[in-house]
């Protein structure tokens, strides 16, 4: 993946969420949440259903506006920006449940992945070829409506669509949702390939062990509060993770 749009040093802070509150109407969901992602890394955000993970991603991508706190991406404050402005800055959010355009063809969905970018035809073809190389099925089914694909194929299309844009930071919400273990392996391999090509990744994943295996850092959210963070290996063994996620109350 090109590094042209991504000139910063690996290791510096790319995204920082500083002490944000987010809610829907009267109901507060997140309270004083902070999180940071270093350039070039994979960060995992984990926690049980309803902990507020998706809400946090929605706030970062501009679908929700924090009532307090600030979000900084690539050196600029984005907490009040509109979603399309944030996408334009190179921060892409692949929402839970894939959210493809089911009535449009596979190719059209991939084309929408580069909406707003000025690409020449050769560059577009190169990106498309890369997606097809990783997910050959998307070439086979290129003319079919996305809604006619199986769940696994739809997930590949969603990731392929995101790859087309070559974002600086990619946020993936539950990419393993509804996939068989074999497909999960493929998806995780794709995520690691993306990271090696220079994309920074923030991963929300219910398969905690899988996520912590590929992440360098992890953040644990519980009831709208960040209860732990640190190197993924450390978090993997921590009591907080057990408490937030699994057994033992």
């Amino acid at each position: 993946m090109t590094m042209a749009s991504n000139p910063g040093q690996t290791g510096e802070l790319l995204l920082s969420v500083e002490n944000v509150d987010v809610g829907y109407g009267h109901v507060g969901v997140l309270e004083g949440v902070s999180l940071s992602v270093r350039r070039g890394s994979i960060a995992a955000l984990v926690g049980r259903n309803g902990a507020g993970k998706s809400t946090l991603l929605r706030a970062i991508s501009g679908l929700l506006t924090p009532s307090r706190g600030r979000i900084v991406f690539n050196g600029r404050t984005i907490s009040r920006d509109k979603p399309h402005v944030i996408v334009g800055a190179g921060l892409l959010h692949v929402a839970e449940g894939r959210r493809l355009f089911r009535a449009q063809s596979v190719d059209d969905n991939l084309e929408l992945g580069v909406y707003g970018l000025k690409l020449d035809a050769a560059d577009y073809r190169r990106r498309l070829a890369r997606v097809h190389e990783l997910f050959p099925v998307l070439e086979e089914k290129r003319g079919l409506p996305a809604g006619a694909l199986s769940g696994g194929q739809q997930q590949m299309l969603a990731i392929g669509q995101a790859m087309m844009r070559e974002p600086v930071l990619l946020m993936l919400d539950e990419p393993s949702l509804g996939l068989s273990p074999l497909l999960v392996d493929q998806v995780f391999a794709a995520i690691m390939a993306l990271q090696q090509a220079g994309t920074t990744i923030l991963l929300v994943e219910q398969l905690v062990e899988r996520a912590l295996e590929i992440a360098s850092e992890a953040w644990v959210l519980q009831n709208g509060r960040m209860i732990a963070s640190g190197p993924a290996a450390q978090i993997s063994a921590s009591d907080e993770l057990r408490a937030a996620y699994m057994a033992a109350r």
Binding site: K82, H84, V87, L100
Partner: protein, 292 residues
């Protein structure tokens, strides 16, 4: 049975299809069905008639001014009456009331300016409304032109949705939030769509004027028959609208000739009601509506 019915039905049906397409253009990115659309068509006819017939402008100049004028007015409707309501709630039906209000304002304003007398509009040469006989039907050159142009316009509009911006409009129509996350700015697309949909409505008025005369009373009937064509042909589907327009035009002409002209509306109404009760999404409904 009189074969002229077919000719009359196709001509009227073409106009209904054009109104339906103008509905569809601004429906797609907003899911709003503009209740002022009938009055916009009427406004297009009146403005063009005034410029071309009353002031004697050349037809192309009158056409350009009409399209720009109606387009900009429709953009204004979006900015003032639709976008603020949608910003508050994407799923509310407040826009039903605000576009109705816009419709009242336009209708009243136009009435104050022009009064109730219709204006005769002649098509540009070499087209005429003089009738001749073709395969047993009484038709005019302009009528043939209108039917053919409608098909060309519908196909041209379909091509617009093959461009990247057009695909983005379809994306917004299907899942607005997902489109937002792909970097689409729905507000910009809906402004453009309102402008284009308004201009298209104005064009429809211009095209209708030689057939129906330009009069301030055109709005309500065209609104409802345009809606009928759009709904029967499945909202958002322009080819469907074309076919449904013909279907409604011919049904209406049949009803008028078999029963009485006064029953035109009733026959169309029953047709639409039956179609929608059996196929709530029209005859050419979307195959992949969201399941969640």
């Amino acid at each position: 049975m009189d074969i002229d019915i077919l000719a009359r039905g196709l001509v009227a049906g073409s106009l209904y299809a054009l109104v339906a397409v103008s509905f569809n253009i601004l429906y797609r990115p907003t899911n709003v069905f503009n209740f002022a659309q009938g009055e916009l068509v009427m406004l297009g006819a009146m403005v063009f008639a005034s410029l071309a017939t009353v002031l004697g402008w050349p037809w192309y100049a009158a056409l350009i001014v009409t399209l720009l004028g109606v387009g900009l007015l429709t953009l204004l409707i979006d900015v003032v009456a639709v976008a603020p309501v949608l910003a508050r709630s994407q799923h509310g039906t407040g826009w039903v009331i605000t576009t109705l209000a816009a419709s009242l304002i336009i209708a009243n304003g136009v009435n104050r300016i022009w009064g109730p007398d219709p204006i005769v509009v002649r098509p540009p040469a070499p087209l005429t409304t003089d009738t001749f006989s073709l395969a047993g039907m009484t038709v005019s050159a302009y009528q043939i032109f209108l039917v053919l142009l409608t098909i060309v316009l519908v196909l041209a509009i379909e091509q617009v949705y093959r461009t990247r911006q057009g695909k983005a409009v379809l994306a917004v129509a299907e899942d607005r939030e997902a489109a937002l996350l792909r970097g689409v700015n729905p507000l910009r697309l809906s402004h453009w769509s309102f402008f284009l949909g308004g201009a298209f409505a104005g064009l429809t008025g211009v095209l209708a004027a030689p057939v129906l005369y330009a009069s301030t009373g055109l709005g309500p009937a065209l609104l409802l028959k345009g809606f009928a064509a759009a709904a029967v042909g499945s909202i958002g589907n322009n080819r469907g609208a074309l076919i449904a327009g013909y279907l409604i035009g011919v049904t209406e002409a049949l009803g008028a000739s078999l029963l009485s002209p006064g029953y035109q509306e009733a026959v169309v109404f029953l047709l639409v009601l039956c179609v929608l009760l059996i196929w709530p999404h029209g005859l050419f409904g979307r195959p992949f509506a969201r399941t969640v």
